[in-house]
């Protein structure tokens, strides 16, 4: 069990590329933190710096009460689950799981007991003598988990562990990993580009973009009050609607309507953000959109259309019948987010 402390940790590659801009944050003991962002945002580099597979250019990284900047991966008391599982193809499942313990000169009977225990926990008991090539993708993923569990590490690191599984298995493994982490109470850092994984698994999410941490917060904080237009459009499927608004004497002008809002006038252009499910269809509502496409999703429907010349997505429940054409709606003012159009940063109301 351990806390992880980043103090202005930075990664600059020898060619001058700054993969991670100086980042400072704190991971609590037993917390499940998800690093999320598009490819190339530096989230994997961040994880690999924690693992010790990537050197830290500047700053201090602490795991527990040790500064680990110069400590070898093997001695950091961490375990990592890789995207392609990284199982040793020539070893049986048993040896794969026990290899890390064997290298640490753990007595043979202790290894056997721990491997059996981990296998039981992961439903792998019947497969211990097989080779990785004789297992399905989900089972291989479990072996990789087993390899991490037996070591009893202070920190679990996951590098997009579910991205090679099919959708159904991914949902199942997501729950299993989360449940396992809860049960073991081990601090975990999980990297993914899938915002659904981030939302469902995390205690806290760190959203990254271009080597910069855009926002750190609980899933609901991230979802309800994104710190920037990037977070707003990255998190949530479909993403938040981002609409340009202009200032008027009595509030903000959106299409032909004035929103009676009193925002401090900084002179900056503003962007209004609203989640698709916060748009309420209302025959007497002040706004109207032209619905072009109705997406049928079973539990609900998505309406894609235009408000003036800006595209908008609306989320309606399944019992709400809609047709293409004009839809009138209302927007509750209290759910709206505003961003500075130039910087993309959230503007407080």
């Amino acid at each position: 069990m351990a806390v992880v402390h980043f103090d202005a940790v930075q990664k600059v590659y020898p060619n001058g590329f700054e993969a991670v801009k100086p980042a400072s944050f704190y991971i609590e003991d037993g917390e499940f933190v998800v690093l999320v962002g598009p490819s190339g945002c530096g989230k994997s580099t961040m994880l690999r710096m924690i693992a010790g597979l990537e050197e830290i250019s500047n700053g201090v990284l602490q795991i527990g009460d040790r500064v680990v900047n110069d400590i070898d991966p093997a001695d950091r008391d961490i375990a990592m689950v890789f995207q392609n599982y990284a199982l040793y193809p020539h070893m049986s499942v048993r040896n794969n799981i026990g290899y890390g313990l064997k290298n640490r000169a753990v007595p043979r009977d202790v290894i056997a007991a721990k491997v059996d225990e981990a296998a039981k926990m992961l439903n792998l008991s019947d497969y211990l003598d097989r080779k990785p090539s004789q297992l399905s993708g989900g089972q291989r993923q479990r072996v990789a988990m087993g390899r991490a569990i037996v070591r009893d590490p202070a920190l679990f690191l996951f590098d997009e562990p579910l991205s090679n599984l099919d959708a159904k298995l991914r949902n199942q493994m997501r729950i299993e990993i989360k449940a396992l982490q809860r049960r073991l109470g081990v601090t975990s850092v999980y990297v993914t580009h899938d915002q659904v994984e981030a939302m469902t698994m995390a205690d806290r999410i760190i959203v990254m973009n271009g080597g910069v941490i855009e926002q750190i917060g609980t899933p609901s904080e991230i979802y309800q009050s994104p710190a920037s237009t990037f977070v707003a459009s990255f998190m949530g499927a479909p993403p938040m609607n981002l609409l340009e608004v202009t200032r008027a004497d009595t509030g903000l002008r959106l299409a032909d309507q004035i929103l009676p809002l009193d925002l401090p006038d900084t002179g900056a252009e503003l962007i209004l953000g609203i989640r698709p499910e916060d748009i309420i269809p209302d025959p007497n509502g002040p706004f109207s959109i032209m619905v072009d496409i109705v997406e049928e999703l079973g539990a609900h429907r998505l309406l894609h259309g235009r408000l003036g010349d800006q595209s908008v997505t609306v989320h309606v429940p399944k019992d709400y019948t809609v047709a293409e054409g004009v839809l009138r709606f209302a927007m509750p003012i209290e759910v709206l987010s505003f961003f500075d159009a130039a910087s993309g940063q959230r503007v407080s109301r």
């Binding site: 693992a51 010790g52 597979l53 070898d72 991966p73 093997a74 961490i78 375990a79 990592m80 890789f82 995207q83 392609n84 990284a86 199982l87 040793y88 193809p89 020539h90 070893m91 290899y99 890390g100 290298n103 640490r104 080779k131 090539s133 390899r147």
Partner: protein
């Protein structure tokens, strides 16, 4: 044309041609061997008189005993058995040495941040242009001054530095996923452990392939053993055969039958190695996935 009810497999021209080419190739390879076999069954005089024929003589046992257990030189130590032994030591030492050295060199080049790794690799690679025959004098000089003439070390060590093996292992190591290296690092495997526990077992198909090639190569060495071994008990088969056929003593004929049989015996171990390792090779290919 009437349609036959029974579907008959039609003989296609291409199939026939394939078989003709393969049959001719097989005959081309096998007939000389059979000729040698025939020549080792007839008395030596008959070989001089009639040359190859279809006559199967009764000298096979005699020739076999002579070939395997009788010495041909002065010291009485270069029997077929001892030459076979020496050839095995050379072939296996040569192959194993090349594989170990090649693997370790490739390991250093691929996995360690050496300053001039690429340069070193290309330097090794260019030695392909400098085979033993080119550097035979300096090599001999060195072996001689190290006092390794007429020893197995002298026979094997100067030959085992191998660009070929290094190159093949380098290509193979570069295809091993980076994640595996990282997983092993986190699992606490140091460089030596990673090499022995992970890389060597992963390379077993490569090792088998290299072993086949290098064993046959080493087995067939002629020039170097001729230079290095002057003592008869160090003779290898390939050079020993030459000597049997070369010896003219007064009115005695060269022992053609004995030499021929020994030549046939010399072919058998490489064939067995290829057959044995091939099955292993296929097994390795189908079992492991990376």
């Amino acid at each position: 044309m009437t349609a036959t009810l029974k579907p008959r497999k039609r003989l296609r021209l291409s199939t026939v041609m394939d078989h003709i080419v393969l049959t001719l190739g097989a005959l081309f390879m096998l007939v000389p061997m059979l000729m040698v076999l025939q020549l080792s069954t007839v008395p030596d005089a008959e070989i001089i008189q009639r040359g190859p024929s279809l006559h199967i003589g009764d000298q096979l046992d005699d020739n076999f005993v002579k070939a395997m257990f009788e010495a041909s030189g002065f010291s009485g130590k270069n029997t077929g058995v001892s030459m076979l032994m020496n050839s095995f030591i050379l072939g296996i030492g040569f192959a194993v040495g090349k594989i170990i050295l090649g693997m370790m060199a490739a390991y250093a080049i691929v996995y360690f941040r050496l300053r001039f790794a690429t340069l070193a690799f290309w330097a090794i690679f260019t030695t392909l242009l400098l085979p033993l025959e080119v550097r035979i004098l300096p090599s001999y000089e060195i072996v001689q001054s190290l006092g390794m003439l007429n020893t197995y070390q002298g026979l094997i060590i100067p030959l085992i530095a191998s660009a070929t093996a290094t190159f093949f292992f380098r290509q193979f190591f570069m295809s091993v996923p980076e994640e595996l290296v990282e997983a092993a690092r986190i699992d606490g495997a140091g460089p030596v452990k990673f090499f022995i526990d992970i890389l060597v077992p992963l390379s077993r198909t490569m090792i088998a392939a290299m072993f086949i090639i290098m064993f046959v190569y080493g087995w067939n060495q002629y020039l170097w053993p001729t230079m290095i071994t002057t003592e008869e008990d160090m003779y290898t088969l390939v050079r020993g055969i030459k000597q049997i056929i070369q010896v003219f003593e007064g009115t005695n004929l060269p022992e053609y039958g004995r030499g021929n049989l020994l030549a046939l015996i010399a072919v058998i171990p490489p064939v067995l190695i290829v057959v044995f390792f091939q099955s292993w090779f296929v097994k390795g290919l189908t079992e492991s996935d990376k």
